[in-house]
Amino acid sequence: MTDHKEIRELIPWFVNGTLNESEQSLLDAHVRECDECRREVEDLVRLSSKFGWPQEVIELQDSGRAAAADFVEALPETGAAGARPAWAVPVLVTICVAVAATLTTMIPPQDEFRTRSTKPGVVVAAPVVQVVFQERATEKAIRETLLAGGNVVLSGPSTLGVYRVAVTSGESDAYIARLERNPDVIFAEEEMTQ
């Protein structure tokens, strides 16, 4: 492989140092002789340096590790679904939500959630629970489960099947406990506020 175009295609990985020995030697020699490719290397070195991460994410790594360490302490060595303790999924998702919530603070805020009947300027204050159902669950069963007790579905199903439900009684713990006893429900957990 000595073609200039083919060599140039490898420059991104010359810059990140992951080429094999023969490719690395080839690039070393070529870049010394080719001004165009040398400029490309210089550009990509600068570009790649901008792919670093802000302090929030570095701190997130530490908090994520600590939370994950607590979670996995009691896990069995196999990840097979049958060996999963009953509490594992909610705890895992709580950790995931905590990590994701930190990440999402770095993205421009989205519109506040309102029901269709919510008046302008009024934000729903009730606790919000995220619910995911088994694929086998019928629409009727889902509707009856979510709306029990006068609760309001704020959104869903998302692309991943998540419903967000405002618990109008404020008793989210009792609502979640009922959901967890429902065989159609895979996951039910109160949404973290940011």
Partner: protein, 158 residues
Amino acid sequence: MRRLYELYLPRLGRFLYRVVQDAELIQELVNDVMLTVWQNAGAFRRESTVSTWILGIAYRKALDALRRQKRYSTLVRQVPEPDRHDDDIGYFIAERDLNRLLVKLSLEQRAVAELSFDFGYSYPEIAEILGVPVNTVKTRMYYARRTMQEAYSSRGNA
């Protein structure tokens, strides 16, 4: 399992943040990917490294979700054009400006750039994560570079 969660949960979040850039979707995807990892960990055959396996799951779920929601146009709309004009591409591409350039790329191209420059993967490893031939990885990187350079050039000539 302990090491897996310690190491890869934060990295998964970083990958999705750069590649997806959609707050609501990131939260859903982190949940969904880690559940999939947990449910399938017993079936993991070590034919690939753990990191490539997890990031591959994340990539495919992100791709599917964005394709279904057709959010590409939304991504571009969310990021306004920067005001600054500069002759030096390295200086121009500050963190926020980098994101503005990245949203001009397809998700597939962003994934290649992120896996190369932030995660430091080789192109064969990236091919494994994305489930595509190595030549496809090179092609995506080529067009990603060209798109970012054109975006920069059009600003410089404005």
